[in-house]
Amino acid sequence: MSAPILVIDDVSKSFRGLRAVAAVSFDVRAGSITALIGPNGAGKTTLFNVIAGVFAPDRGRIVFAGADVTGRRPDLICHAGIGRTFQIVRPFPGLSVEENVTIGALRTGTAVSAARRRAGDILDLLGLSAKARELAGTLTLPERKRLEVARALATEPKILLLDEVMAGLRPGETDEMVAVFRKLNAETGITIFLIEHVMRAVMALSQDVVVLNHGRLISRGTPADVVRDPAVLECYLGEDEEA
C-alpha cells in the first residue's frame, strides 16, 4: 500500500450553524482512485471546496504531499498540484474549447504554442477534438463535463478532484469516461479522488471508497466492503436514494 498523498485531518466546516462537514478524517493514497460517496447534502462538495481552498475549514488540516495547505488560496492549491472540476460546470463560455484547455495548460509555462499543443493532446484523450474550435458555451452538458476534466488535467495536477463528472452521462458514455480515468491513472500515476453518484462508475473505478452522511464519515474501505456496510445501506435505503 502506497503512502497517503492527501490527508484530511479532523476537518469541520459549518455554514450559519449548519455543520456541513463534521470532524472528518481520512486519507487518499498516492496513485489510487478513491471515491467519495454519500446522499445529497452529505457534505461531499463542501469537503472538496475546503480541499480546493474555496473555503477555509473551521477546524482541522489539509495536508497535501507532505505540506500543510489548509486555507490556501485556490490558485495556490492548483499550483501545489491539486486540480479540480466544478459540480456545476464553469466553462469559459465565450472562449473556444481549445482556448479553455490552453488556459489550464498555461499553468506550467508561459509559451502559448506549447500549451496549445498540450491542450490538443488532452482534447484528443477526452474525445473533444472535433469540438476544439467551437465556443465552450455551445457544448452539451456531457461535453461540458468532459471539458471540465480536460481543463483541470491540463494544469498537470498530481491529484484530480472530480465532482460528479459522470452525472447525466448515458451508460455508454460513463463507461468511456471510466476507461479514460483508468488509463490516465495507470499511465501517469495521477491520483484520482472523485465524488460520484453513479454507482456503476464507483464500483468499476475505485479502489477505496469513503462514505459521508450528514457531514460525518460513516464508512470507508473497498467498494465491495462499503456496499455491504449496514450503516451505508441504511443511509442510502433509508432516504430512498437513486444510487
Binding site: 492548483c78 469559459f92 490552453t102 498555461l106 465556443l135 481543463r151 483541470a152
Partner: protein
C-alpha cells in the same frame, strides 16, 4: 509572435488593412484642414478606446472613469513642460507612471476587498470625480481658470516637444492608434491575454486553474491606465489648454467607452470602427443642426445614448463582428 499574427490574417484581411493604412497615411495630402481635424479626433478615440478595451473587452473590468487617466496624463506632461521645461517625449513616461499609480491604487482598493462589477465601476467614477474636484482647487495647474500651454504658430515640426503643425499631430495619433491596435492584439495572444480572458469569462474557474486573479486584474488596470495617459499627453499638447471639468468630467469617460462598445467589446478592430462611426455621425450631426439653425447643446450626447441603447439591445457583440462577417474578414474576438 509577429509571425503568429501574420499567419492568422488572411490575404483579404491583409489587403484591407494595408489599404486602410495607406488611405490614412495619405489623408493629409488629400483632405482639407477641417476633415483632417475630424479624422484626428476619430483616431484619438480609436486610441483611448483601445486602451479601455484592453481592460473591459479583454480583462472584463468595467471602468467608467477613464477620463481620470487621460487627465492625469495630460496635466502631468503639461505641468512638467510649463514649469520645468521637460519635453513631453520625457514627460510622457512620468504621465504614464502617474496614471499607472492611480490605476494601481483603485485596483488595489477594489480587488483586495472584493469590489467588482458595477461597484468597481462606481469606484472608478468616484476617483475621476474626486480628482476633478481636487484639480479644480489645484492652483499650481491653474485650478478652475485652466492650465495653458504656450501656443506657437510653427510651420516646422518638433516631435520631442510636440510642437508643430496639425499634420504632425495627425501622424502622431495615427501611429498611436495603429500601435495600440497591434499592441493589444499581440498582448491578447500571450499568456497574459489568455489569463485576462479567463478572468473575464469566469473568475472562480480562472482561479481554480492557478491564475492569481488579483495580480492579473491589477496588470490590466495599470497597463490600460498608462496607455490612456499617453492619449492625455497628446490631448494636452494638441489643444494647449486644460480645464478640470472638461478633462476629468464623467462625459469624457463616457465618450471613451462609446466607440469600443459600438464597434465591438473585446474585438481588436472594433474600437477603430466604432470611433469612425461615432466621429462621422457626430460631425454630421453638428453640421446638420448648425445648417438648420438649431441651438441644442446636448443633442450629440442624446444621439450617442440612443445609439448605445440600440447597439446593446440589437447587436450586443458590436458592429465590427457583423461587418467583418459580411465582408468576409476573419475575426478574432470575443464571440457570445
Amino acid at each position: 509572435m509577429i509571425r503568429n499574427l501574420a499567419t492568422e490574417l488572411s490575404t483579404r484581411d491583409a489587403v484591407a488593412a494595408t489599404t486602410l493604412v495607406l488611405l490614412l497615411v495619405a489623408a493629409p495630402f488629400v483632405v482639407g484642414d477641417y476633415l483632417l481635424s475630424v479624422i484626428l479626433i476619430i483616431l484619438y478615440f480609436a486610441y483611448v478606446g483601445q486602451a479601455w478595451n484592453l481592460m473591459m473587452g479583454i480583462a472584463g473590468q468595467l471602468s467608467l472613469g477613464h477620463a481620470l487617466y487621460v487627465g492625469l496624463g495630460a496635466y502631468t506632461a503639461a505641468a512638467l513642460f510649463v514649469h520645468f521645461d521637460v519635453p513631453p517625449a520625457i514627460g510622457l513616461f512620468a504621465a504614464m507612471a502617474v496614471a499607472a499609480l492611480a490605476g494601481a491604487v483603485i485596483g488595489f482598493l477594489a480587488f483586495r476587498f472584493g469590489i467588482s462589477g458595477v461597484y468597481f465601476a462606481l469606484l472608478t467614477i468616484a476617483f475621476a470625480e474626486f480628482t476633478r474636484i481636487l484639480f479644480s482647487h489645484f492652483d499650481w495647474v491653474g485650478a478652475t481658470s485652466g492650465f495653458f500651454l504656450p501656443v506657437e504658430n510653427r510651420t516646422s515640426s518638433d516631435l520631442v516637444n510636440l510642437r508643430g503643425t496639425s499634420v504632425m499631430f495627425y501622424y502622431v495619433i495615427l501611429t498611436l492608434a495603429a500601435g495600440a491596435l497591434v499592441f493589444v492584439r499581440l498582448l491578447a495572444g500571450t499568456r497574459l491575454g489568455y489569463y485576462w480572458r479567463a478572468i473575464r469569462e469566469d473568475q472562480i474557474a480562472a482561479q481554480a486553474l492557478g491564475i492569481n486573479v488579483f495580480r492579473y486584474k491589477m496588470l490590466a488596470v495599470v497597463i490600460s491606465a498608462a496607455m490612456t495617459a499617453v492619449g492625455g499627453v497628446f490631448l494636452a499638447f494638441y489643444y494647449n489648454n486644460l480645464f478640470p471639468t472638461d478633462v476629468f468630467g464623467i462625459h469624457r469617460s463616457i465618450e471613451i467607452i462609446v466607440a469600443p462598445i459600438i464597434g465591438g467589446l473585446g474585438t481588436y478592430f472594433g474600437p477603430v470602427v466604432g470611433a469612425f462611426l461615432i466621429g462621422i455621425l457626430g460631425e454630421g450631426l453638428t453640421n446638420a443642426t448648425e445648417a438648420a439653425g438649431i441651438q441644442t447643446a446636448g443633442i450629440k450626447q442624446l444621439v450617442y445614448g440612443v445609439i448605445l441603447l440600440l447597439i446593446i439591445k440589437l447587436v450586443p457583440g458590436g458592429l465590427w463582428p457583423l461587418i467583418a462577417r459580411r465582408l468576409g474578414f476573419s475575426i478574432k474576438e470575443r464571440r457570445k
